[in-house]
């Protein structure tokens, strides 16, 4: 195989890893944010919950930033087109995301009740909404998006954003992402809290996990009746230019073609369902550390299922299917991909090392009694 094709494939794989990392790590913090008002009834309890992720949320959030940066660098056309086509949704996502760092830093700096109650609502919104949008975006791209390019490479949107925002399949995907994040947030709270937070977190984690399994299976059945996209013609080594070189057809159930051609792919959704069920069982058995790793399996299974169905599509176009963005036609140049790969190979292992070390340093239970005394904490 041509080097360029290999690099495109590696970067598509790395993009999946980043999306999984984002779902797992950022989703976990956002799950805690969503659960904050429910697991903590007193101010001390809520501060405890916040301080459990307090030392880590900022580092975790970089998964999100890096996700944006990596798409920009490795698949610039995808970055440029998807962020613009989903403008209204992206801006809403952004507004809720930028509220979060501020909420962490400012909530406990003032004693007033109304102040803290307001920021607690901000945590709920900035936890729920971004994960919902994240999931809904997957729903939208599975259904295809209306856009086309002119000869200079400028994109044009066909149709209104409301069609994307308000459709049942996207809502289902959005809720699924929220459920996974609440489950992971609940598990993290269980690992590092004592009662009563521990048991409340357990209560929500179990329910979120079961809901996630149900939504995942419903989505799986639903996808059979959705118009999928099939790449009829297109050279993987093509120059990255969506304006030419591809022929794409739309077929109901088209997203299951890859599974039909390679039945081994069915292991991916099986992994997802198994991890979610095992996660629920482990949470019930109070084995929260093990359950955390099942959360990783759930995200790998979910994102992997979508990736296996859509390969090699990133974002299909309903109005001009031939201009659909694929791994082959939206990447950076070969040289650019190679440079980025070298940088990633050096730094990703280093990042994983020091991130683990930080969790190790901050390990152990966070106690409400200690938090109330400490004026430095969140």
């Amino acid at each position: 195989m041509d080097v360029y094709v290999v690099l495109k494939l590696i970067w598509a794989g790395l993009l999946c890893v980043l999306l999984i990392g984002l779902g797992l790590m950022v989703g976990m913090d956002m799950g805690v944010g969503t659960l904050l008002r429910f697991v903590g009834r007193t101010d001390g309890e809520r501060r405890t919950a916040l301080n459990i992720i307090g030392p880590h949320w900022d580092g975790n959030q970089v998964w999100f930033i890096l996700g944006g940066g990596a798409i920009f660098a490795a698949f610039p056309t995808l970055y440029a087109t998807s962020f613009s086509v989903f403008y209204v949704v992206m801006i809403l996502l952004l507004f809720s995301m930028i509220l979060r760092p501020v909420a962490f830093e400012y909530r406990s700096k003032v004693e007033a009740r109304l102040w803290r109650a307001s920021w607690d609502w901000v945590f709920l919104i900035s936890g729920f909404l971004p994960m919902f949008v994240y999931g809904a975006a997957f729903g939208n791209i599975l259904q295809g998006v209306g856009y086309h390019f002119n000869w200079t490479g400028q994109y044009f949107q066909d149709g209104s954003f409301l069609a994307y925002l308000l459709n049942p399949f996207a809502i289902l995907c959005g809720l699924m992402a929220v459920c996974l994040s609440v489950m992971q947030g609940g598990i993290m709270l269980m690992i590092r809290s004592e009662n009563p937070i521990h048991d409340r977190a357990r209560f929500y984690a179990i329910r979120a996990g079961i809901a996630a399994v149900v939504l995942f299976l419903v989505g799986g059945v639903w996808i059979r009746s959705i118009s999928g996209f099939v790449l009829e013609q297109g050279d993987p080594g093509m120059a990255a230019n969506p304006m030419q070189g591809q022929h794409v057809s739309m077929q109901v159930g088209g997203w299951l073609h890859n599974y039909a051609a390679h039945p081994i792919l069915w292991l991916v959704p099986v992994l997802g369902v198994f991890s979610m069920l095992a996660g629920v069982a482990l949470v019930r058995a109070n084995r929260s550390h093990m359950a955390w790793w099942m959360g990783l399996g759930s995200w790998v299974g979910t994102i992997g299922t979508v990736a296996a169905a859509m390969f090699p599509f990133f974002m299909p176009s309903t109005t001009r299917p031939d201009q659909s963005l694929t791994i082959w036609n939206s990447s950076a140049s070969q040289y650019g991909l190679a440079c980025m790969l070298a940088v990633a190979l050096i730094f990703v292992p280093i990042i994983l090392c020091y991130t683990s070390w930080c969790y190790y340093v901050m390990r152990g239970k966070v106690r409400t009694a200690d938090i109330i005394k400490d004026t430095h904490s969140y």
């Binding site: 030392p55 940066g69 980025m340």
Partner: protein, 530 residues
């Protein structure tokens, strides 16, 4: 060629400027305070004096309030290229996205991961361990600035890339060329050190406030001295690197340097004056009320007494052949995209360096399509396009001047502050202390003017000489833009109000809350007794 609605382009520019300037109110302080915190903590670890730990904790708290908004508003920047500048992002993604992604991998991850330990790890790490963490945060935030400025420099001076007619994008062909872009290196030092100036004045100004009130005197005097010394070195470095940048602009962005200096006509060395003040008129292409110092401009910009600096009128004339050649390039490219004939590609290649000027001409072409220009229209299109190569002179000229004047002011201020602090004469000069206090926002203002100079001076391009700004935006409707602008305005206004409230609250509260001092200072104790 379906040009984007000019109102949408203007609104996109306005939104970008608003969010970037806002983001950059917090970044300079982050860049400088991290290193000052590391310096304070170093003294604490070496000497074991509690007052230095108090200093680290107290200034660290103010740092945290500022840092949160820096991170939050930085998210906007990461999104905005995609959400509002899709043509630019696609065209220039290799060159711009790569440094941005490396910034995440190398710098931002480090800064954000260790900042948690910096705030929460005091009891869990050894003294040297915590110090190392603080240094990693400082290193991370400054490396972050490096990569952002590498990205920015490639917009101003696209180095190590060529346009690929097969993909219609800039393809980058030298990683080294991008990273070691001379503009990037000078810009990085200039900008990050400007952040140190901002942090120095922040610490110095708040310390002056305590000295004026005779509160926390030992704490404030030590903080003041450290900040004054840090500030004077930083100011000298800012000015030196500013000079290097001016020289680079002279070589690579002649339109920017001419606009910055308000130079309508080519300079006459060595007499040419450096204009202190003037009223440049963009429409008439002349300035009124010029006041200048003779013999200064030529050595200042060119580092010689004989080299001329090309004026804006002459630059416009020199652009005419490039516009003609660019129109040929764009026409050939379009034919090539449609028919893939080798002859068209060959013609394009002969003119490809001027393609940007052909795109620039599209605004004045019939149907906004340069391929539709009839031979008899060519000359008039070129004449209409010529003035477009210049940035807004009034804005570029004045933002540059205000930045320079503030820089000179900081030099004097820090020199006096260092002198008075080393002579222990601060408390006898309450007026000077007040001046320090009131100057706290000025370095932020100066860095904002610097950003405006650099980016307004880059116009009409997003990628200098390659891609015009009016083609770079996303094809949104006006209502989309109004929606996002309204949201940003509301959110950012609330943020700044909350930030200022907390800053004032914690600055007034002072360092006491962090435990007793070892050294008994009578004035200090009387405050504690309250």
């Amino acid at each position: 060629m379906d040009l984007i609605n000019p109102t949408v382009v203007d609104l996109s520019r306005f939104q970008f400027a608003l969010t970037a300037l806002y983001h950059f109110m917090f970044v300079p302080l982050t860049l400088g305070l991290t290193f000052m915190l590391a310096a304070m903590e170093t003294v604490y670890v070496v000497t074991g004096k509690q007052v230095y730990k108090d200093m680290t904790l107290f200034w660290g708290k103010l740092f945290g309030i500022n840092f949160a908004l820096g991170v939050a508003t930085g998210l906007t920047m990461e999104f905005e290229f995609g959400t509002n500048w899709s043509m630019y992002s696609r065209f220039f993604g290799d060159m711009f996205g790569t440094p941005l992604a490396i910034e995440g991998l190398m710098a931002f991850f480090m800064e954000s991961t260790f900042i948690g330990l910096m705030f929460f790890g005091w009891d869990r790490l050894s003294k040297p361990g915590h110090l190392a963490v603080t240094y990693l945060v400082a290193l991370g935030s400054n490396l972050s600035a490096l990569w952002i400025l590498v990205a920015n420099a490639s917009m101003n001076m696209p180095n190590g890339a060529h346009f690929d007619p097969e993909t219609l994008r800039m393809t980058f062909d030298s990683f080294v060329g991008v990273v070691f872009n001379p503009d990037a290196q000078a810009k990085f030092v200039h900008t990050s050190v400007a952040g140190y100036v901002a942090a120095s004045l922040f610490v110095m100004g708040i310390s002056a406030f305590y000295l004026l009130r005779k509160q926390h005197r030992d704490f404030a005097a030590r903080s003041f001295r450290m900040a004054a010394l840090f500030g004077i070195f930083s100011t000298v470095a800012v000015i030196t690197l500013g000079d290097v940048l001016g020289r680079l602009d002279y070589e690579h962005q002649p339109t920017k340097i001419a606009a910055m200096e308000g130079l309508w006509h080519t300079s006459k060395p060595p007499y040419e004056p450096w204009i202190i003040a003037a009223l440049p008129n963009d429409a008439k292409q002349e300035s009124s009320f010029e006041i200048g110092v003779p013999f200064v401009l030529t050595p200042l910009i060119t580092h010689s007494f004989s080299m001329p600096i090309t004026g804006m009128i002459e630059l416009e004339d020199a652009a005419a052949p490039r516009i003609a050649s660019g129109i040929t390039a764009v026409s050939a490219l379009r034919r090539y995209e449609e028919n893939h004939q080798a002859a068209d590609l060959e013609e394009f290649r002969a003119h490809q360096d001027d393609m940007g000027y052909g795109l620039l001409a599209s605004r004045h072409a019939p149907g906004q399509d340069v391929t539709a220009i009839a031979p008899e229209q060519l000359q008039s299109v070129i004449e209409q396009t010529k003035p477009d190569i210049l940035p807004n002179v009034f804005v570029t000229f004045w933002s540059f001047r205000l930045m320079v004047f503030l820089g000179v002011f900081f030099f004097v201020l820090f020199a006096m502050a260092s002198y008075l602090s080393l002579k222990n004469q601060l408390e006898r000069n309450p007026l000077f202390l007040k001046l320090c206090m009131w100057s706290i926002p000025l370095p932020v203002l100066a860095t904002e003017f610097g950003w405006i100079t650099a980016e307004a001076g880059r116009q009409p391009w997003t990628v200098f000489d390659r891609l015009p700004t009016f083609m770079s935006a996303s094809t949104h409707s006006v209502s989309y833009m109004l929606f996002s602008l309204a949201g940003f305005t509301v959110l950012y206004s609330i943020f700044i109000a909350v930030e200022l409230y907390l800053m004032f609250k914690f600055a007034r509260l002072g360092p006491e809350a962090h435990g007793p001092h070892e050294d008994a200072d009578p004035a200090h104790l009387s405050v504690v007794a309250h």
